[in-house]
Homo-oligomer: 282 residues x 2
């Protein structure tokens, strides 16, 4: 049996499935956990691959360690989305982190991850972690001056995650951060979602004094190349604090940190003007 | 209509096809040119995507400009494989290059590229270029002390390209290079072909005094992350000559040059010992 994600209207990724471990409809979306031959166990939401046990380390490390090593003394972290627990796991590698709040809209995702993806979700039981099953957009608008780092680990910009790509949400995020806080969001593929990246970069850049895009390869995401956008009130990721580097890391290095901000010409260009390369875009 | 490449026994990439422009069986392989919705016109050999007009710039620039900007005065270049002409196009951007010899085993690939991929093949008519339709392995063993740079732009390590991943071939390449020459080869995906990369890196490293691996994202290749291995008699790509940077480049920058050598932890590890991660490998 094969699972195929239609990554765009004209692009598909297919994975041979050993076994369907879980499939259910939650209040928000269709949730599936499949065991694939190529990448092992895989979480799928509304037909879109979220993470696999073989390649998840790239995404989870790059969305976590780049901000964690940019901020010199991050203690209080908010994660919006990320119900699989992969970001929380990376954050919990830092002994100086005192609180991690995970705000996930769909409790069934957290339960599926606890049950079928223990190597990703294991840190959800860390005593510093609070899991709140609620709407991240509402939550962000209800807090002020509270977090050193906020990580937006959303699904694709449709369905429950649509509001996580809007300017108003980032104004709330700005207010939810402490005076030297910073945010990182996953912002899709430069090959497939050029105009979305351009739009999100422009408004994060208009809200935060420091704004940078960085890249990492994710085999199971459309085109395999993924972008992350950082908005920061004070610290620059290009002169990171030389702080603690956790053990057990498989992708991130201090060199990789800098390299991920080296943007190819076509990515520099898509940031600087509204891109015309929207063919086949979601 | 959809085209699907079985990239491994358990991984597939599917592209919606507007039109089949060409399909024929040459002496060596099945050749097809398809017009896809996502990435435009695409060259397929034996069912494997070689290049598309939308993403070819990454591969062709990274396999060409990294060596061209490592060697301070490259004049005579040999390309083995690469019948589509994309590497030749990038080399011809350098005014100081005096000769480019393209050795392609399959003349029908060159003809298909001339006819259907003119934006890739256009420099094949440059007066500095000589196209030789012959076996690259035999050709390499017949020349000595002749080239500043050799680029191995092969298909995957099966069928006609199998011998291009062998140690004996690289000994001939070493002899075909001038005393300060260097070679770059495409060496597949760290996510999918770990043991092949490990094997090729080991023998290039044993033959050449300088050996480095670098990475670039290629959306239409398995896993989307691709490796290139450089063997050099003298010059290091980590201290490149600050020479001419051609116009018209869409991926490569001097920063990207350095960044491509920043290897993630798992890639460093797969170079340093025989990898056990061979599941699903071709």
């Amino acid at each position: 049996m094969w699972f195929t994600e239609r990554q765009t209207t004209s692009l598909g990724l297919s994975l041979k499935v050993r076994e369907t471990l879980y499939r259910a409809r939650s209040e928000y979306q269709e949730i599936a956990v499949l065991d694939t031959e190529q990448y092992g166990r895989m979480l799928v939401l509304d037909g879109m691959v979220q993470t696999t046990v073989s390649d998840e380390f790239v995404y989870h490390e790059m969305i976590s360690h780049v901000p964690m090593r940019t901020h010199p003394h991050a203690q209080d972290i908010l994660v919006i989305g990320g119900g699989d627990g992969g970001v929380v796991r990376e954050l919990c590698r830092y002994p100086n982190v005192t609180s991690v709040t995970l705000v996930e809209i769909d409790g069934d995702v957290v339960e599926a991850a606890r049950r079928f993806l223990p190597e990703i979700s294991l840190a959800l039981d860390d005593p510093r972690v609070e899991v709140r099953i609620t709407d991240g957009i509402k939550f962000a608008s209800s807090v002020e001056d509270s977090y050193d780092i906020i990580i937006i680990d959303s699904t694709e910009p449709m369905g429950p995650a649509e509001g996580l790509f809007n300017e108003g949400f980032y104004r709330d995020i700005f207010n939810a951060l402490k005076t030297d806080g910073l945010v990182v969001a996953q912002t899709e593929s430069p090959f497939v979602n050029a105009s979305l990246i351009n739009r999100v970069f422009r408004f994060i850049n208009s809200i935060f004094p420091v704004c940078h895009l960085y890249l990492a390869p994710i085999p199971t995401y459309p085109s395999g190349l993924w972008s992350f956008t950082m908005g920061s009130k004070h610290y620059s990721p290009l002169s990171p604090a030389k702080n603690f580097l956790p053990k057990g890391i498989k992708y991130y290095t201090p060199d990789v940190h800098f390299s991920s901000f080296s943007l190819p010409v076509f990515v520099q260009e898509l940031l600087s003007h509204a891109s015309e390369n929207t063919e086949g875009e979601d």
